[in-house]
């Protein structure tokens, strides 16, 4: 399904400042189980509305241990423009994220961002499906918040999947009390919700419902591939948020490039959110990203 193509990544420079370096203060760094943590930080730039981070964008968090020289890319979980608070939901997977996990209230952390392109919000999409698997749920809190801003976005189906019940503790921090959001939970071991993976859950939901206007998803590679295959087969407009190892975060080092039908694209700069169509030759470009 993948085809080589010419590189037409975006090299254009707008000249407008979008990313910032900032020292922020940690106000909370809570363990949620299954190696997942929720960190809240206070940002002057957000409070003063100098930056306007959006769902799907990410920040590069600087570590203090100089043996580990790279910043860690962490998605924006949620932003509160009134209080200046940014939330990051992350999983400890290595020494870098382990270092982040021991930061305490009052610690100063240098962050770089917001970076990358986030989700496109369509103001009049009646039926929307939002899918997250594991730590891929992280960017979806802000996404659902942004979708709910528009009254026309009437029915949002939220599929949340994870390994087990403990891994789903991260949902505690989602604001799901809206009547417009129907949540479907699935786990690999069936300890919470249905014993399905997110792609199987999507298949099941699509059987009983008409195709949505758009599907947004974020999760492990394998799950995203399965979701992509479904949306491709059913020709549904879809955006996915991808994860890749990064060094610079700004599109300079080309360490995170992925091959698409229209050439190589940098996950940090051209993504991390892409239209799924970009990976499928036969679909053409639907609102090509």
């Amino acid at each position: 399904m993948y085809k080589s193509g010419i590189n037409n990544g975006n090299y254009k420079c707008s000249g407008k400042k979008t990313g910032f370096l900032e020292d922020v203060t940690v106000s909370e760094n809570k363990y949620l189980g299954a190696d997942n943590y929720l960190m809240k930080v206070f940002s002057e730039n957000v409070k003063k509305q100098v930056t306007n981070p959006k769902a799907g964008q990410f920040y590069m968090l600087k570590l203090r241990n100089h043996i580990r020289i790279l910043r860690r890319p962490i998605s924006l979980h949620s932003v509160n423009f009134k209080t200046g608070e940014l939330e990051f939901l992350y999983k400890v997977i290595g020494k870098g994220t382990e270092e982040l996990s021991i930061l305490q209230k009052g610690s100063i952390l240098n962050i770089q961002g917001p970076l990358g392109k986030g989700f496109d919000i369509y103001k009049k999409s009646e039926n929307i499906i939002v899918i997250g698997g594991g730590i891929g749920l992280a960017p979806l809190k802000q996404l659902i918040k942004e979708l709910l801003k528009y009254k026309e976005n009437k029915n949002i189906i939220f599929i949340a999947g994870g390994r087990n019940k403990e891994a789903m503790n991260i949902l505690e921090n989602f604001l799901l009390d809206s009547k417009r959001v129907s949540t479907f939970i699935c786990t690999d071991d069936g300890s919470l919700g249905e014993k399905l993976n997110i792609a199987e859950m999507l298949e099941k939901i699509l059987k009983n419902n008409k195709n949505p206007d758009i599907i947004y998803s974020c999760g492990p590679d394998k799950a995203l591939k399965a979701v992509n295959d479904i949306v491709n087969r059913k020709n549904i407009l879809s955006q996915i948020s991808m994860e890749e190892r990064m060094a610079c975060g700004v599109g300079a080092c080309v360490g995170c490039s992925v091959e698409t039908v229209s050439g190589m694209r940098k996950v940090c700069h051209d993504g991390p959110v892409f239209y799924s169509s970009i990976f499928y030759e036969n679909r053409g470009e639907i609102n090509g990203n």
Partner: protein
Amino acid sequence: MEIDIEKKCKSRLETTFMGVKLQNPVMTGSGCFAFGLEYMDYFNPNKLGAIITKGLTLEMRKGNNGIRIAETPAGILNSVGLENPGIDYFEKHILPEMNKYLNIPIVGNINGKFIEEYVELTKRLDKIEKIKILELNISCPNVKDGGMAFGANPEIARKVTGEVRKVTKKPLMVKLSPNVTNIVEIAKIAESEGADGISMINTLLGMSIDVKTRKAVLGNIYGGLSGPAVKPIALRMIHQVSQTVSIPILGMGGISNTEDAIEFFLAGASAISLGTAFFPNPMVALEVIEGLEEYCKNEKLNNISEIIGYAHSDNGIDYRKKLKLRK
């Protein structure tokens, strides 16, 4: 925060490198700064001495598959494999953007799989006014053909440098690989074939293994090591090479702050380049430029060039004399 260094730099950091006048001797390493516009959110790239472009090839290259970045102690491994859009796309889409935003000298980094490709690309870059210096990359460890294979073989290094030299009058700098037994030999060859300068070092071939999967982390298995971990090796090699050639050296390899940069001048570099250091600290170039100015002031130097090669046994006097002879 941007530091206004323009006024201050003119006296103490202004330099001429390979015949090209620079406001300061601080450049960006190829492949770490793309085409000069990506870090504009953090500082004005026009404050730099020069920008070295990402490695260019005649045709578009997709680079290597799989994971391309792995962090190692005080360093990173990369196996990008020269992904770039090719010279046509560069000229059509990137160069106009560079022309619009950048008013400092640009160094074009040249790559090829065959000598003919190096020559062809050189001819194309030779015609671009914006590009003031050419950097011949015969040392990329991440491409199977050309790249390091050229830089590690003295006879091929001789041939490619000589052939490229014939087709351009622009100052030509050859980027050396540290993945050789005798780097001095290759440096001398570059000089004898008409190179106007040397840039060193490129990354060191390395590897990282995931103990869980029991496999190499990088898709390409081996990758190029950069960052603070390689600094002592870069310094040693520059110290060796600068005592045997009389063309200027652009020093790079793990420079993360002003003190590191000063060490490179002392070892024999006439200018320095920052690469991996941009990743943790996008402001690093401005900090180094300001730090060098401060150092000159504190050490009562009229110009940073006064310390070039000072760590040599003759306090660099011979080397500086040689460099002047070449001008």
